[in-house]
């Protein structure tokens, strides 16, 4: 009985490998990728076989410093990859995507937000990324550029990653939040977007973790992300590609 179940597994595996596999993703088995939360949907699409840990880029950097067993790191800001590379934890990172910030509100827009100026009105409940989390730092820098720092007085929560911001807007418990265009797109009809007049340069570097034990798979994954298929998936999700 047991050997039959085993045989069935082998057959199913073989069948799935022989299927419409878009080339080479089977070799990503056992690969662990730490990636910014905003990459959740697109990385799952590009490499469904890899194991992902999606979180705030800063939190992931801390985990890599503490010796997490991980092969590839993709962040929503050059800050942490550069730090890790300087400390010897990461091989030369390279930028593979860009993004833009956007304000999202729940579909029924309870606070009637139309422009960024509305965000500083009394009683607006705004959720943004925490300091040190890339989306939080980008948000603060955009508001500074626009001279609209008073908006920060309406922040009711600093979230540890961009999906935390998005979730509280989707549930309607926050009136507005600052997320990436790609998150707004992934949320579909659950949010409405309001474009921002100013934009910070949002760049996503990717690199191989120095202590990887899956070097070939790590290289294959980065190759896949930089490939034509990878670029199409990124553009489809709303990212820019360099």
């Amino acid at each position: 009985m047991r050997s039959r179940a085993w045989l069935l597994t082998v057959v199913l595996l073989a069948a799935s490998c022989g299927g419409d596999d878009s080339g080479g993703s089977a070799e990503l088995d056992g690969l662990t990728v730490f990636a910014a939360a905003s990459l959740t949907e697109v990385f799952e699409e590009i490499a469904p076989d890899a194991t992902f840990n999606f979180a705030g880029s800063d939190e992931l950097a801390t985990q890599i410093r503490e010796g997490a067993p991980v092969d590839v790191y993709a962040a929503a800001s050059p800050r942490y990859p550069n730090e890790l590379a300087a400390e010897g934890f990461l091989r030369q990172p390279q930028v593979f995507a860009t993004n833009r910030l956007v304000v999202v509100v729940p579909p029924d827009n309870p606070a009637g937000i139309r422009t960024v100026d509305d965000l500083s009105r009394d009683g607006v409940r705004l959720v943004i990324g925490a300091e040190g989390v890339p989306v939080g730092d980008y948000t603060r820098s955009v508001l500074e550029t626009m001279g609209a720092e008073d908006v920060l007085d309406n922040v009711v929560s600093n979230e540890q990653d961009v999906k935390g911001v998005l979730g509280k807007v989707v549930s309607g418990d926050a009136d507005a939040g600052f997320v990436y265009v790609t998150d707004a797109k992934a949320a579909g009809d659950d949010v409405e977007s309001i474009a921002l007049p100013a934009q910070p340069p949002v760049e996503y570097p990717i690199g191989i973790v120095a202590e990887t034990e899956n070097l070939e798979a790590a290289e294959a994954f980065i190759e896949l992300v930089l490939s034509e298929d990878g670029r199409q998936a990124l553009e489809g999700a709303g990212f820019g590609v360099p």
Binding site: D58, E59, S157, Q160, G172, D173
Partner: protein, 272 residues
């Protein structure tokens, strides 16, 4: 053979103690006393301490105010479904914190069961300090009520009956007889509830969010500072270890603590 057995027991005990205590030792070794003092007087740490104290005290007030009579009721009344009720009160004890968080959202969220109505009156609970208080009450109250039930059950019914036959009203009997006799057990439950409330993390970060000086309690500040300023995270952690140790010691040192946790013993004990 016997020596080997004894040795095995000792080794296992040593391993268990080392595993349980070394992380806390490491925490204190990671930071010098001077750095600790520095970090604890940082604005983030002081804000977190204040938020934790304030929300903790408010939550504890309601836990005692409502929990004490509820525990007395469940301990002294006999009715169908009582056992089920006691079990349901204890459910949050074993509930994963993330479930508590999402359940509180389901009730109080803007699109939630009650939240929808509250919203029409312009009242919003998620992501406010009230949300922190509610999360703390939700996770801490069962510790107190559970201990309260055991404490009231341990009060000799002969004493309360005597009080009633001597003409005291039920309320007076509760106040003058049951409450004083159960007080050390209630004190222990109160301390445990306080400790659980102070440590509350999962439900709070989901339901109340994290905003320095408003909803960022000490555990949330540890999480937020972990990637920003490790010293502050470690310092708050060390402080919480000391707080927890104090709570534990005060529970252990309450004299009748063990007596009141064991109703079967009380039943067979001589009264008086």
């Amino acid at each position: 053979m016997r020596r080997a057995f004894e040795l095995g027991l000792a080794v296992a005990t040593g391993l268990a103690l080392a595993f349980l205590l070394l992380p806390m030792v490491a925490l204190f070794l990671r930071i010098s006393p001077a750095e600790l003092a520095d970090a604890l007087t940082s604005e983030v740490a002081l804000d977190a301490l204040w938020v934790s104290l304030k929300t903790g005290l408010i939550a504890h007030f309601f836990v005692l105010l409502v929990g004490t009579p509820a525990a007395y009721f469940l301990a002294t009344k006999r009715f169908r479904g009582r056992g089920t009720l006691v079990t349901l009160v204890e459910l949050p004890l074993v509930l994963p914190p993330a479930v508590a968080g999402i359940a509180l959202f389901a009730l109080f969220g803007r699109l939630g069961l009650l939240g929808r109505t509250l919203d029409t009156f312009g009242i919003q609970i998620p992501l406010t300090q009230t949300a922190v208080v509610l999360a703390v009450i939700f996770v801490a109250a069962p510790f107190y009520i559970r201990q309260g039930i055991a404490s009231f059950e341990a009060v000799d019914p002969l004493l309360t009956d005597a009080s009633r036959t001597l003409g005291a009203s039920p309320a007076r009997t509760f106040r003058r007889i049951a409450l004083p006799l159960a007080s050390s057990g209630l004190g222990a439950g109160s301390a445990l509830a306080w400790a659980r409330g102070t440590g509350e993390f999962g439900a709070t970060i989901m339901f109340a969010g994290s905003l320095q000086g408003v909803t960022q309690t000490m555990p949330l500040a540890i999480y937020a500072q972990l990637d920003l300023n490790r010293d502050i995270a470690v310092a708050i952690g060390a402080l919480l270890v000391l707080v927890s140790l104090t709570v534990l010691l005060s529970v252990k040192l309450l004299p009748s603590w063990t007596r009141f946790t064991s109703p079967s013993f009380i039943r067979s004990a001589p009264s008086g």
